[in-house]
Symmetry: D3
């Protein structure tokens, strides 16, 4: 805790004071352009990753960047989404998974939730991810491959869940909202985005081959 | 979106490359010391505020930094708390509210949730906040005073909710976890922490009078 | 009731006896090719409409042909869908709304659910339909136009809900299931199917102009 | 699907055209006399079985013809029942189980719901059926005998559940509604109805011994 | 509190000491013969009323002596009933309402639950009572008459709910459990029991006309 | 039942008649000073134990004297608490556990809830108790020691749950309500109360060493 207190002290001296006017303007309202939904994992700093300043990203974070289908949980996700879309009128909605995700590890490990009843119940909202892994990736045996596929399929599953939220469905119907499936690969410092046309995740924000391609493109046939 | 993509590009060039070793170490695991629960408000950047690096704070964010009592919602908050306390074994748990909070405005405004059914249901978990305002602050009439009291009482209410989570109750019983109620005042660049002994919020991390004192200390008598 | 008893008597004499062998084969198992989800409305006879025999259609019926998102209700719809897709392995899944639907009338009428608490709670799963109507069809004032749009938008909304069911998501991911949005127009004896490419409902099963076109094609832009 | 499309085509030519006037009258309203609750099983065609025309039966169908007690699920069954009884004012309410029911097989087989979480949750509303089987039929060992008892007891259990629905309770209190427990035996082309006086299921609609009697009458002592 | 502490002191001296052997035998187990479900109202003392000693009555008490249908609430009532019937094997189950009941007053008063959200939600399990009052007693206008009918109808409604509990259904099916609907009239010191044959409440435990008859017999026609 | 009927008869003759005036006053209203929440166990008679008369204690009873956190169950406990605190304005709220509690035995026995699904679900609200036992009392092996610790920890856990109820939180904030954790030891005829200052249970209502001290004081460190 001492470190956090000193950090805040440092923030006040080095960040707040020089930019006092910026913070004063900020103090009376916000108009972020995007809702960024990501994992609670300590290694993700959405503002650092996107180089955004306070005021630019509305952020929801939980273990596994999960978005329960509308009505499945009267929880924080539904309220945060509704507030972002219907009140703040954000134009973009990003679900961002990440490599080495503890929640996804728990999902693919049969004993991953032992002694963790709340995590187990929460991962019921990734049951579609689990079932897609079982039926579409039967050949994957090594845990790290399974994990990689889980991370990818899960952001797509959660994106489908997002569409059932009335505020999202209405904004989509009017063409006023765009959905994005991202994956942050920590060791590569890179973000991959799902390309619906090519049906796979592709590097975002660079064409210079900095990042290695994901193990496999997920193939999602639209009925 | 273009701005976010460029930001990520910038992150890769200026942050990731120079610190590639740091991120490589980070890529295989995390051991944050605290769980930081705060609002989705775009103006809050927990890592900026506490001057922490990736890997240091496990973060849960939702509209209104609300923590439903255990069992009230099988949602992301319960799972994230359980994962942080029982798996990552964080030592500190902070609920951090903030000034000018849209969720708290919706709470104190009788029409604040009109057309927002998911927000309305979510704020049922701040019903205790609402009732404390009605019975302990009947003299407050001006919206900004009510809002200030709401923000303060709400972090205390959510802290009580936290205690009902089994992983938290067990860690508290063993003296292995500490709970903190904080408020981030945007225009002052300051954080206030609740002092149970003095029963009021006091400036954190500075004794130099940088920040103005909160309008009123909340008085919470323990039965 | 007397009429029903006599009807069964008649069935035994005129249908069962002549086709006793057919029913004997049927008695030990089923392998329907489609799951047909439609309204409880007495005017819909799915087997008559599709000219199918016993054994050909697995059928779920409720007021409003509503399919709650997965997890929103641990109800009959989820179980029936899971059984049809994961056990019976149906290849097609049809959500079929209809003209003059009482549930949709209740949805668009502000007082439509007065005194009907169970119907009101059920129609919360058509909240997306309601919100799309409010934001995409603000110019519609006449009840019959609103109803027509409600019926159309609702089958599309329920189809989105279907995608969140794990068995459906997994079968879609493997290309083993196809989803269809239909509307049965009682007075025209016609069925309209949604064409995702043209983003509107079009007559099914005939090109001969028997049926009048729907009042308006619904425009659903995919993000 | 091609078959269904052709079927609809056929319906338009051979059924709709000749009876256009009938369908035109039907198009503006319905006043069915009964609510028929039955299984989604493809082998059941309620209109064929009772020789009723469109407009005569309001129909709810789900896997296992289950009716959760009021409040247990805010699902389609409650809304459909409320609509049928309170709005359409049906006079008769029939719960119709059937032989060879897959849902009942899953209920009596300890592994019947493995891999089917939604079915498992749904069958919790037949827990009373399961418990009656365990305590009142301990001597039944052979699966087909257990299944037969399960089908019979389950319609009685679901009928008890029906009585807890407020619209049903109120209509029963006024003597304006009658409840019926039926079982459709596919291979016999016969329907059995429960006779409360004799406490067993008896053939309906025939006294000519067409159907073989059910294996055993269920004995239900009224306290 | 001082009074309660002194009372316990008194109990120790005057009750426990003289009957120490009785309490010693009691200390290692219980085998009550009945489950008594009644209101939390302070004026009801079930042991005083039935002149029973510790060990004789298993007792569940809540506001309004309400028993939600099985599955409607995963609450104390269901667990207490299951424990009493399946573990303790009680032979009788009594639901005992009472005159001047605050919960029933709240039920019949349109504003009775204002500011009481938990009471309002709880009384949803007496919705059938409310609907029976509306449809079967439209002529009752005076609050005290409505209240009297509410108290009577409500114990019958809750008795129907009881039947949906699997342990109860199974015990009833075997004839090992008997259900009783009672009303305790405080000012008369009398208990009325529902007589299914005569379809009305009648004085219990006396034929000497001590008590005045209930204002009206409730008429419940069995379908 | 005959015994209960005779008991009521006896009550009418020996208790009601002589105290008819007392009961007449009681008949029109109540103003109890405390809400007493205890187990349904037949061996507990709250009025006998505290030597209180009808009208003095508002009483809630369920298996295990459990109080789910607010919102976790829309059940009788929440409504009864809200009614007692917000309507009757009781000043004291007692949660009273007891020795030899069947619910606590089921909690600490891994097979304690087998065949008892409703009890199992109910005991999820004592999950914190279970987790505290596992982490703070790992050395306890003998069932009777575990049970004793379970009974003690559970009343403290349920007291924490109580604080999340809005009516309780608001009354506590104003200093108008006091919470008490009690344990009734049947064989000692004694009540123990938790002393927050000394962090252990101590004999209530006597200083004369009548009762043996509990096996161990629970140590609950406040963060
Ligand atoms: Zn993660
Ligand atoms: Zn906020
Ligand atoms: Zn309809
Ligand atoms: Zn079936
Ligand atoms: Zn009462
Ligand atoms: Zn007990």
């Amino acid at each position: 805790m001492q470190k956090l207190v000193e950090g805040i002290h440092h923030f006040q001296d080095r960040i707040f004071r020089p930019y006092q006017e910026f913070f004063a303007r900020l103090a009376t309202g916000q108009s972020p352009e995007a809702l960024f939904i990501t994992c609670s994992d300590s290694r993700i700093d959405p503002n650092l990753l996107t180089q955004t300043a306070p005021g630019e990203l509305f952020i929801a974070r939980n273990a596994g960047n999960i978005v329960p289908p509308y009505g499945a949980v009267h929880g924080g996700e539904a309220a945060t989404i509704e507030y972002a879309v219907a009140v703040l009128k954000v134009r973009d909605l990003i679900v961002c998974g990440h490599s080495d995700c503890g929640a996804m590890k728990a999902l693919v490990d049969p004993h991953g939730c032992s002694g963790l009843p709340a995590v187990a119940k929460w991962l019921e909202h990734a049951e579609a991810t689990r079932r897609i892994l079982a039926t579409s990736y039967p050949e994957l045996k090594r845990p790290e491959e399974l994990l990689e596929a889980a991370v990818q399929e899960n952001v797509l599953v959660q994106l489908e869940h997002l569409r059932t939220h009335p505020s999202v469905a209405a904004a989509l119907a009017r063409g006023e909202l765009h959905l994005h499936a991202w994956i942050y690969q920590i060791d590569a410092g890179a973000v991959f985005a799902y390309d619906p046309a090519r049906e796979q995740f592709e590097p975002l924000g660079t064409t210079r081959g900095l990042v290695r391609p994901p193990a496999r493109g997920t193939k999602r046939l639209v009925s």
